[in-house]
């Protein structure tokens, strides 16, 4: 049996530092020892497959039981490709977010902002054969958090992706263009490379908008590609 082709290492400074002092929550949670380098084996180069039979898509977060959530309806769409620009087809994307008031439908969220019974903020979509995905939701509100005095998270949508292998697992957050809180946010700013950071910001796209119904934002995602192909400098 031939060795599996490994996935490429990340380019320097394009992933956040686990030890990011400005984000207080990292202080007791970042490992102090360097990780042990290990060649990827079949365990890392394979990954779970999620079937829509077991994991039904939830592509409309903007209503519950037919009742409309409060807030600004938005459509979020984009592509999932790998590091070589190839589409990642039929891959599962999990999405979660706060409601329009900046409150999660979660028992742990004690922010004194209204809950919306018609918004759970919990979605799941799959890319199509060309790696495209799309969902409908409500623009999430900003919310305060206890990191430092007067700390507020910028508007964001949480994403979880799997891709073809356990090595391509990605947990990220999508931000919105022009958000003044981005410059102040230690989580967003934990990614040292400015260009990489800015790729976490979606773009407003009039072509995705549904007239008289919802505005559209594009968020394209890139997963790790195989190592054998040329790497960008």
């Amino acid at each position: 049996m031939s060795d599996p082709l490994p996935f490429a290492p990340f380019a320097p400074a394009t992933q956040p530092d686990l030890d990011s002092p400005a984000y207080v929550g990292t202080r007791k949670r970042h490992p102090l020892r360097a990780p042990v380098k290990m060649p990827q084996t079949v365990t890392e180069t394979t990954g779970p497959r999620f079937s829509t039979a077991h994991f039904p898509p939830v592509a409309d977060l903007s209503r519950v039981g037919g009742k409309e959530a409060l807030g600004e309806r938005i459509i979020v769409a984009g592509t999932v490709t790998d590091g070589d620009g190839r589409p990642v087809p039929h891959t599962m994307i999990e999405i979660w977010q706060a409601n329009a008031c900046g409150r999660y439908h979660h028992p742990g969220d004690q922010h004194d902002a209204p809950l919306d019974p018609n918004f759970h903020g919990n979605g799941r979509v799959f890319t199509d054969a060309e790696g495209r995905y799309r969902f409908m939701t409500i623009k999430p509100g900003a919310y305060p958090w206890p990191n430092h005095r007067n700390a507020w998270r910028p508007n964001h949508i949480h994403y979880s992706l799997f891709g073809p292998a356990f090595a391509t697992r990605l947990i990220t957050q999508m931000y919105f263009p022009g958000d003044p809180l981005l410059a102040l946010d230690p989580i967003y700013n934990s990614v040292p490379d400015k260009a990489a950071r800015e790729r976490l910001i979606s773009s407003f796209e009039i072509g995705l908008t549904e007239p008289d119904y919802a505005l559209g934002y594009r968020f394209d995602i890139v997963l790790r590609g195989r190592a054998a192909t040329p790497m960008e400098n």
Binding site: G25, P31, V36, M38, T41, H54, F166, L200
Partner: protein, 175 residues
């Protein structure tokens, strides 16, 4: 012709993932998988102690995933920091070259305060192949190596504590 592109940056999972409330994801036998059922459990610690609100994910490529066995599981940690999976015991796996890998499960940790996931492995105490497994063999310090080896804790129950930081810190993997 394809254009190389930089992978999207990770960001923390945060504390508010609704899906962690769904306990069914921690049972990899829920779709009817048959085989040697085991429980893999333990406590997740950070530098302050047991850690609630963590998200532990496992992936094993053996037994091969199919309609009845997803190979993948997800467990939140409870107030005591405990995660708990029900799964099938993995067998040996091919390694790189002619190497054999001892039975193992990949373990990924996500949490508020972790800006990207960290990965480790669960091996099983008493497996003969543990002596020659390439990863275990590459770790000289027996205390460090032991952080990757689950210990039996009753019939079919395996215990592996995970320590993000400090004394007995888990060996994390750069893969």
């Amino acid at each position: 012709m394809t254009v190389p592109r930089i992978p999207t940056s990770n960001q923390t999972i945060g504390p508010y993932w609704h899906l962690l409330e769904d306990k069914s994801w921690a049972d990899l036998t829920r779709f009817g998988a048959a085989g040697e059922t085991i429980v893999l459990t333990g406590i997740l610690y950070d530098g302050d102690g047991p850690m609630a609100e963590g998200c532990i994910e496992i992936w094993q490529s053996d037994p091969p995933a199919d309609d009845r066995f997803p190979g993948f599981g997800r467990s939140g940690t409870d107030k005591e920091g405990r995660y708990r999976f029900t799964t099938l015991k993995p067998g040996a796996e091919p390694g790189r070259g002619n190497a054999q890998q001892a039975p193992h499960i990949d373990v990924m940790i996500h949490a508020r305060g972790l800006l990207h996931p960290v990965v480790t492995r669960a091996y099983f105490a008493g497996e003969a192949l543990n002596e020659t497994d390439p990863l275990l063999a590459s770790i000289d310090d027996p205390h460090r190596r032991a952080t990757l080896i689950a210990r039996p804790e009753g019939a079919g129950v395996w215990r592996l504590d995970l320590r993000l930081q400090g004394d007995g810190e888990t060996v994390f993997l750069d893969v």
